[in-house]
């Protein structure tokens, strides 16, 4: 085989590997909605929600319960990632990366602030005050924030084709959740704090991707990701949960009740799916760029609906089928991009 053909083949392999990681991310993210939904009706979280709601009202109770669930989610993700790094033999690299706080790991800690308490909590706030459909629509917009930031901040290239693909996927996502959104909006007045939550989700995840890209430049994704979740665990367990306990919420008494077999199983399932969704997400960025990685990752909306249908039997509406088709079309617009356009992701 001649040099040119071999070159083309190699570059093609790299790009398709990047897309494969991004697709796995979407699948894991979609599956995550199963444990993420189930955990709300399990002990101790359902009791916690009811008991806080009695004292402080539904809205506050929902956010506080969401904090505890998110914190446990971060904890099990961390466990899954430590196992993952062990399998890859990367503990050494993990320690070396952690020590480089100033040039490198600070970016991951910064990313964890935007990913955890801003994006994930924002989603829960949007779900609580407006509804799940609105939260999901808002979150689908994060690649727009991510690609614009990556473009202006460190000049990541976005081809017209990639932009078009991202656009089609977003329209697909809006169609998927659009029906539910209209019902929610027409059912009454909507508090502004719900919109703020939606904005937090879209901006938080978009900013996380762009910031993480800065640290990923000079580190290995597996190590970087673990540090990002180390950061999130510190934020929840050392800062926010003790603060909420100080305000009188029964955080610790409910936290100690999670050691029931079913609850643990669901939390671990959530940790594994969310953890690997992030592994795949971060691995795709250096290969295909933040904008494309996030765009393909956005197929999670479609996968979530498929898995929720398979496991919970919720039959999708026709708007969901139309939206899902648009998402697939959008990702193919990106998949079929000429590989040579992707040889390097930044302008000279």
């Amino acid at each position: 085989m001649d040099l040119k053909a071999l070159k083309k083949q190699e570059s093609k392999r790299k790009i398709s590997k990047g897309y494969m990681w991004a697709l796995f991310c979407a699948v894991f993210w979609g599956i995550w909605y199963l444990p993420g939904t189930v955990v709300w009706v399990l002990n101790p979280f359902d009791e916690m929600y009811l008991s806080i709601a009695k004292v402080s009202g539904d809205g506050v109770s929902l956010v506080v319960t969401a904090v505890l669930i998110t914190a446990f989610n971060a904890l099990t993700v961390m466990l899954a990632l430590i196992l993952w790094n062990g399998v890859l033999g990367k503990y050494g690299e993990l320690g070396r990366t952690l020590k480089e706080f100033h040039p490198c790991s600070k970016w991951f800690f910064l990313a964890s602030i935007f990913g955890g308490p801003i994006a994930i909590l924002g989603s829960f706030i949007a779900m609580g005050f407006i509804g799940g459909a609105f939260a999901a629509v808002a979150a689908l917009l994060y690649p727009v924030v991510g690609s614009i930031l990556a473009y202006y901040w460190y000049g990541e290239k976005i081809s017209k084709r990639a932009a078009l693909g991202i656009g089609v996927i977003i329209i697909g996502g809006i169609t998927i959740f659009g029906g539910g959104l209209l019902t929610e909006l027409s059912s009454g007045t909507v508090p502004w704090i719900g919109y703020l939550g939606g904005l937090m989700a879209a901006a938080g995840w978009g900013i996380e991707g762009a910031i993480a890209g800065k640290g990923l430049d000079i580190s290995e994704p597996d190590a970087g990701l673990t540090l990002r979740f180390l950061g999130e665990n510190i934020i929840w367990w050392i800062i926010i949960i003790p603060l909420l306990a100080l305000f009188g919420f029964p955080m610790y008494s409910f936290a100690l009740q999670v050691f029931e077999p079913l609850t643990m199983l669901v939390l671990i399932f959530a940790g594994i799916t969310f953890g690997f969704c992030y592994v795949c997400w971060y691995k795709s960025f250096p290969l295909i760029g933040v904008g494309r990685g996030q765009g393909i990752g956005n197929l999670y909306g479609m996968f979530a609906i498929i898995f929720i249908f398979l496991f919970f039997g919720d039959v999708p509406q026709w708007t969901i089928l139309v939206g899902g088709t648009l998402c697939i079309i959008g990702s193919f617009v990106m998949f079929t991009e000429e590989a040579s356009a992707l040889e390097t992701l930044r302008g000279e």
Binding site: M1, L3, L6, K7, E10, K14, G89, G92, E93, R96, T97, E100, P103, C104, L216, D217, I218, S219, E220, A223, P286, L287, E343, T344, L345, R346, G347, E348
Partner: protein
Amino acid sequence: MSGNRPIKFRILELFLDGKEYWNYEIVSKIQEEYGMNSNYGRDSINFDIIELASGGMLKDVEQKVDEEGIYKKDFLLHKYVITDFGKVRGSDACLRYV
């Protein structure tokens, strides 16, 4: 002093002299410094170089087919040089300590 910084830092540091290096030269040097002598270690270091190149910090300037099996027989060998962006990122990360 070797083997105590993240691998990508060290790779950039090696390129900071501005010279061109083949990937197998860098890979074998890192393998030696970090004690990563398995095939898995080799591939994972090479992947780090690929990521640095796709991040725009290294530039792929020359390729040849590995006919003799210096690195991996019948695969492409790449020669890289550091870019201006790579120099900036590399000096941020590395030079402080040198």
